[in-house]
């Protein structure tokens, strides 16, 4: 069995995963890999997932080893922000040609690494494996090792070829690459009793910066984020953190669990979306840090901060309550946790017509049931045709989803707000939920809706004529 295969199998039975904990021994052994249906599959590949997880390390060069498809069609499409270095935004790829397919792409890969070292000289290079070189047997681990030794800098293999599985699996494979080759390889300049890691925070449109001031104010230092606005050195020395918060559902559960095992860093699962969730996170991390030796007054200071920030957020939301109360929203999310958004929208009195539970875990489902009272409105998949029908029949006043289904809503002449990876407004922290609600308000109350829904004059005449004919 190949090393990659073993790794995938072990990730699929991840003991930290809530879904797995609920399974029988036998079911767990079989893992959770569902074969995709040809002709009816959608979504990114494992390479995509690994890149999403790791690209937010902003000072390293991300080199994609493969033909042009993998990087050429996709680079520069994610809005994750950096407070400094821009190296991560450059698309590097070996753009394998026929020659490389026949003779193997290892030499080209090695030369590509050398070119990056010569021209860019980043603190590290991440090399992503893709389907074609994996299939012809390019040994990227070997090339990375050789290059690392030769150039005296970390060259990290990320072995997550697309055909290994889903985007979600790719997230975890990306995490494994960090665990194997990066975490624990450097020491922080200094440590404090309040050092934490944030796992699964990618700093999409700067969301990390919406929560960082909260930690700063409490004297909690974010030693490393995995991997939003991260520097290579942060990740390499992240093993000295005292505690961690795991965000974004289970995407990087393997990092959280293994760092707990290896370096005794306790973690809990939290979310920065929704007022109650942010407060919950601050409470839990303060308590956890005190257990780990932080000053005893930390929880009290956290409570004061929470009281102040919650009051401020509620005051800002007040304005929207009368405008949004009773409006029906259809939620179709992948990245942002369904239940946290659900509870946030209910905070302003909106009614949830339905929410997709794609990619959500059992505990996510349980939470939605807890918040919504029933699971009647959950669906796993909603084919575009049905989604369109629902919207066209005005079952919902507004739809929240990822960019791919935006045109389903727009063509049905329904207001739409983006909530996934490509969103342009930051949704995290106490301000984030206000932003989201403001976006919904902006979409709902745009004057175009009444105009575009109005039929043409001659269409009205035709309709009336038809009506008259019916009655006559």
């Amino acid at each position: 069995m190949s090393a990659l295969k073993q790794r995938i199998d072990s990730l699929l039975v991840e003991p930290g995963c809530a879904t797995n904990q609920a399974k029988s021994d036998k079911a767990r052994k079989e893992g959770c890999k569902k074969p995709l249906t040809p002709g009816a599959a959608a979504g990114g590949c494992a390479f995509d997932g690994a890149k999403i997880a790791l690209q937010p390390v902003v000072d390293v060069a991300h080199l994609v080893h493969g033909p042009i498809a993998c990087e050429g069609n996709s680079w520069d499409s994610r809005h994750v922000y950096s407070s400094g270095p821009q190296t991560y935004r450059t698309g590097f790829t070996t753009d394998m040609a026929e020659f490389d397919v026949i003779y193997g792409g290892e030499k080209r890969l090695y030369r590509a690494i050398k070119e990056i070292v010569d021209k860019v000289d980043p603190p590290a290079i991440f090399v992503y494996q893709t389907c074609l070189p994996a299939m012809i047997g390019d040994d990227i681990e070997g090339v990375c090792k050789a290059a690392s030794e030769r150039f005296g800098k970390p060259v990290i293999p990320v072995n997550a070829p697309g055909f290994a599985g889903s985007k979600n699996l790719g997230n975890k494979l990306g995490g494994e690459a960090l665990l194997d080759h990066v975490v624990g390889t450097m020491e922080p300049d200094y440590t404090t009793d309040c050092d934490i890691n944030l796992i699964g925070e990618y700093n999409v449109v700067g969301e990390f910066w919406q929560v960082k001031p909260l930690f700063d104010e409490l004297g909690i230092r974010v030693l490393a984020t995995f991997c939003g606005d991260a520097r290579y050195k942060d990740i390499a020395s992240s093993h000295r953190a005292k505690a961690a918060i795991m965000l974004c559902s289970q995407a990087l559960i393997n990092i959280a669990r293994k760092m707990n095992e290896r370096y005794d860093i306790p973690f809990f699962e939290g979310s920065f979306y929704g007022i109650a969730d942010v407060s919950d996170c601050l409470r839990k991390i303060s308590k956890l840090l005190v257990e780990r030796g932080a000053p005893a007054d930390l929880p009290a200071r956290a409570e004061a901060l929470i009281a102040r920030e919650e009051a401020r957020a509620w005051a800002r939301l007040e304005h929207y309550k009368s405008r949004l109360a009773g409006k029906r929203v259809l939620l179709f999310t992948g990245g942002v946790k369904s239940w946290s958004v659900v509870s946030a929208l209910q905070e302003v009195g909106m009614e949830i017509v339905g929410t997709s539970m794609r990619k959500s875990t059992q505990s996510d489902r349980a939470k939605v049931v807890e918040i919504m009272g029933t699971d009647a409105h959950m669906f796993d998949e909603l084919p575009p045709r049905e989604m369109y029908k629902m919207l066209k029949e005005s079952k919902a006043d507004v739809m929240l989803s990822g960019g791919r289904s935006q045109f389903v809503a727009l063509k049905a002449k329904t207001p739409w707000v983006e909530i996934n990876q490509e969103r342009h407004h930051a949704l995290a922290g106490y301000d984030g939920i206000v932003n989201l609600v403001a976006e919904i308000d902006k979409a709902l109350y745009n004057p175009i809706w009444s105009q575009v829904k109005q039929p043409a004059p001659w269409e009205i005449e035709a309709l009336e004529a038809k009506g008259a004919a019916h009655h006559g």
Binding site: P38, G39, A42, C45, P67, C70, W75, S77, R108, M135
Partner: protein, 460 residues
């Protein structure tokens, strides 16, 4: 004559190139009731889909055979079969366009052979044409894939015939044309009383209309029935050198003669096109086009002040690069840097001293010192770093509205292009004016153009 330089880098930096399979997929998207199917792993499809959605701002029907590591090794017959059956059941399209990818080509999947087996085994696929375009990711790029898909459709769908319909014309449209361009071409051809069959026709499927129902396949575009009629046309007009192989195949199969237009932007090119249509239809040139021609002449007169001796850097797909380079040269600008993502015969005729096969990293390096950057939206980073104004052209253009409706062909399209780009130059001029001081006038002698309100020799 441009010298074509192929770089020796192992690492592409900020790729300009996109893959052949998604080029082929876009060509299939120009067909009515069609659904392109990428034979490969699912990520390739997801990336292509996102790219098109960002550019066209439309839903894009695109499917995958969802190959896994195991099925890749075993061969993809079963996945292709399942995909076809699933698509037929769910969407019942008139056409499924299969594009292979890097892994399935390297594995050696014989898709054409698969299709024979599958068709025999499944009579229920009746009523859906299946066309296969071999498009390994590691050979050529976007426009090559587009060309292969069109060639494959002609090969598969056009029967041999000797019947001729004198007023029917085939238009083979290259991938550098926008839906707006195709619309313009259709209207022009129709204005001469001719009936065009346009292949592929993105203006029907990706022009941003609002359908009554949500469909899992394209709505609008070239109909399969029309492709079958192409053998009966009087002439094939191919637009873009990338369409030459397809036009030649059509000629070989059906005897319909072909004429390749390497561009339809610029006065001379438009003249040739209109003259050809007049000849073919034996019609007078409609007053509309005489008027548009004179408007273009006027635009050239007004615009040349701002284009003259400007240095332009362009990075684009081969036919677009060719067309734009000559557009700028026609107006008196110099193409100081020309980059193409992959080689093509037309590159030797680009209006520049050299054409580099390269990426946006090369572009950034060689464009320094020019007055205007021209490429797709990924040029944003270069323009920010170099501080040179940026005019967007090509796919993907995800940070501008209305790219599908932009018209760049014909008298009218060329006229608008002069205004659009001329305005970018003019804005620079005004920006420069603010920095003019007595001292700067002493040291500088190159003033690019007179002030806007003093058109020399305009004859007033």
């Amino acid at each position: 004559m441009a010298e074509v330089i192929v770089g020796k880098k192992a690492c592409a930096v900020n790729p300009l190139k996109m893959s052949a399979p998604i080029g082929a997929a876009l060509a299939f998207l120009g067909m009515d009731r069609a659904l392109p199917l990428l034979h490969g792993s699912q990520g390739c499809t997801a990336f292509g889909l996102v790219l098109f959605v960002r550019h066209f701002r439309e839903t894009i029907p695109l499917q995958t055979t969802a190959m896994s590591e195991v099925t890749t090794i075993l061969g993809g017959l079963e996945n292709v079969e399942q995909a076809l059956l699933n698509i037929k059941k769910r969407a019942n399209p008139a056409l499924i366009g299969i594009c292979s990818t890097g892994i399935t080509e390297a594995k050696g999947d014989d898709v054409a052979g698969f299709l024979k087996l599958i068709r025999d085994k499944h009579p229920e696929l009746e009523g859906t044409e299946v066309v296969f375009a071999p498009t390994p990711d590691f050979v050529g790029g976007f426009s090559d894939g587009w060309g292969k898909a069109v060639t494959a459709m002609i090969d598969a769908l056009v029967p041999e015939t000797t019947v001729r319909t004198p007023w029917q014309v085939n238009i083979l449209a290259g991938c550098h044309l926008t839906p707006g361009d195709i619309e313009e071409i259709r209207e022009t051809v129709e204005a001469f009383g001719l009936t065009p069959i346009i292949l592929p026709d993105l203006s029907g499927s990706l022009d941003g209309h609002i359908p009554e129902n949500f469909l899992p396949h394209t709505l609008g575009g070239t109909r399969v029935e029309d492709v079958r009629e192409m053998g009966a046309s009087a002439l094939t007009i191919a637009i873009g050198e990338q369409m030459r192989p397809a036009a030649e195949l059509l000629e070989k199969k059906t005897g319909v003669p072909c004429r390749v237009f390497d561009r339809l932007t610029g006065l001379a090119a438009c003249d040739a096109f209109i003259a050809l249509l007049a000849d073919l239809s034996e019609c007078e040139v409609p007053a509309k086009y005489r008027r548009q021609r004179s408007q273009l002449q006027d635009a050239m007169l007004d615009g040349h002040f701002y284009f003259g001796e400007q240095k332009v850097a362009i990075a684009a797909e081969p036919d677009l690069l060719f067309s734009l380079s000559h557009f700028f040269a026609d107006m008196g600008a110099t193409v100081a840097c020309a980059i193409a993502p992959q080689d093509a015969p037309v590159l030797a005729r680009v209006a520049a001293d050299t054409v580099r096969i390269g990426d946006l990293g090369d572009f950034e390096q060689h464009a320094a010192g020019s007055d205007l950057l021209v490429t797709h939206s990924h040029g944003r980073q270069a323009t920010a770093r170099l501080g040179i104004p940026f005019w967007r052209a090509g796919l993907p253009t995800f940070d501008r509205l209305g790219v599908a409706h932009k018209v760049t062909v014909g008298y009218r399209g060329t006229r608008d292009l002069i205004f659009e780009v001329g305005n970018v130059f003019m804005e620079q001029l005004h920006a420069h004016e603010q920095h003019i001081t007595p001292a700067s006038l002493g040291s500088h002698s190159t003033v690019a153009a007179p002030a806007m309100d003093a058109p020399a020799g305009a004859g007033h």
